[in-house]
Amino acid sequence: MFSRIKGIVYRNILWAFRSPFRLFDVIFWPFILFFMLTLFLSSVGGNEEFFGVIVLSVIAWRAIYFVSFETTAIFIEDHWDRSLPNMLVSPIRAHELAIGGAITGILKTIVVVFLVLAVGSIFYNVTLDDPLTFLIGVLFLSIVGFSVGLVHFGLACVFDKRNVFTLSFLVPELVGLVSGPYFNIEEMFPQPLVAFLNFFPTTHAFNLIKSIFGMAEANYQMLFITTFFWLAIALFLNRYMYDLGRKKGTLTKV
């Protein structure tokens, strides 16, 4: 099992260095988002604490995206290369493929953590006062990313892979945005939506990160329950749709 996961990580790392698209994902796009927010904040005279929240939320937000995207990408891109049968005929199982992708996403997140913190420190004197709480938040967001990726992976086994690829860009961003990465959802959204969003683990993970700056209260119990509840559902859906793909003949074609 470890050898097969190692294989996926090995190939994904090579891929990241060979493909500009994948490299830009780590060294370029997080900074677009970062400067978009911080420059706006500078222009309206935001306080120093807010810069810290933005730096950390940008990193944490990327954790959902990277892990979710990488969990799905290898399956879909191999389909486009028509080499998916070569991979699926090997002993690798769907969850090993997904875990390999998720580890790649976590490695990408680690790179972004260092890069964004360095830039945040240089430009805005941001320091990481409570690294443990922050890392716990990122870890839980990575698990959420893995859950989202598992669902997309499952969808790609049954439905048109081009549409699922589009979803794999869209959903992590949407989930991150509505979960209040640098604002409180109670102040921004109507109460019914807030109640609904409290079932999202991302809401509690971002609250945990914001709690470092006293902007929100951490609720570890809800974070834990919602994260593993969604993970269990995602694992079930992934397995169900993988088997459905085999039944319908949409998994792959020789």
Binding site: R82, V89, S90, P91
Partner: protein
């Protein structure tokens, strides 16, 4: 002989345009250890569907497909350790060199002695000097050889070859056939699908012909010839074909005579009366230039059975 691949009453349908199409219809076959088994049929006959089921990519509607006695539906990942696939239509991921991709596949198969296996696979397929190049940039011949290199990394006991020589130049195809024969010698059981009849005749121990999802004939080439083309054919080139036709018209063993421009094909029900027929033809006064005993080719047999 031990049966390695066993398919029983296998059926699979697909819906297309509101209609249900039977890709496989009650297919039975068994492949014995160490044989090269050819699966021949027109496009859409069900060959790829059968391979997809054997690989575990597709679940059949009914029946069973087993490899090493394990069910392809539930144990495909156990089977995968001792099996591999080389499909002539499969692509190769971009961005990676041949040796990087082979290393990746070694990891997927959980293999040890990775570098030695890579070197061996590259050597067998004649790709050693191309190891640093990207297979995506290879010519189609080198690309097919790379897929074979990938397919032999885990020393598979069962190898599925789906049209492995499609689109290859003659030299590459000949070289690939040599590899296939060498693999059979080392004990690998091979299921080969191809549209190339001479290739199937050259390589396969047994052949199954599939049409509309059904196996319509199965056996060795000699068995199929015996069953579907039991005639001995004499090809006579001469100046006056009608004279040959005339002297043979009352010979009992002659089943059919086809005469064309300067040649006659004589179909005999057996080789027993060959001497007598030779003598009659020689005495016909047709001014004979050559007489050949025609060997029936698989292509002719295939057309006859498919019709």
């Amino acid at each position: 002989m031990e049966s390695i691949v066993s398919v029983k009453n296998l059926s699979r349908s697909f819906s297309s345009g509101g209609k249900s199409l039977k890709a496989l219809d009650s297919v039975d076959l068994s492949i014995e250890k160490g044989e090269i088994f050819g699966l021949l049929g027109p496009n859409g006959a069900g060959k790829t569907t059968l391979i997809s089921i054997l690989c575990g990519f597709l679940i059949p509607d009914q029946g069973s497909a087993k490899i090493f006695g394990l069910d392809c539906r539930t144990d495909s990942k156990k089977i995968a350790k001792k099996m591999n696939l080389a499909s002539g239509f499969s692509g190769i991921s971009d961005f990676f060199s041949a040796e990087e991709l082979l290393r990746f596949f070694c990891y997927l198969y959980g293999l040890d002695n990775i570098e030695a296996r890579i070197n061996n696979a590259l050597k067998i397929t004649g790709l050693t000097e191309h190891r640093k190049r990207r297979p995506a940039d290879f010519s189609s011949g080198l690309g097919r050889r790379f897929l074979i290199a990938k397919a032999i990394l885990n020393d598979p006991e069962v190898l599925l070859l789906d049209e492995p020589t499609v689109g290859l130049d003659v030299e590459s195809a000949v070289s690939l056939r040599k590899h296939i024969k060498a693999m059979k010698k080392s004990g690998t059981t091979i299921l080969l699908t191809t549209h190339n009849m001479p290739e199937a005749q050259l390589l396969c121990d047994r052949i199954a012909l599939i049409k509309n999802g059904r196996i319509i004939a199965c056996g060795t080439f000699d068995q199929l010839r015996e069953q579907y083309f039991p005639h001995t054919v004499l090809h006579v080139r001469c100046k006056y074909p009608k004279k040959v036709q005339k002297v043979l018209s009352k010979t009992k063993s002659v089943v059919k005579i086809k005469s064309g421009n300067g040649s006659v094909k004589v179909y005999l029900d057996s080789e027993k009366d060959l001497d007598g027929v030779f003598k009659l033809v020689a005495s016909s006064g047709a001014q004979i230039s050559t007489i050949d005993l025609l060997e029936v080719e698989l292509e002719e047999l295939y057309s006859k059975i498919m019709d």
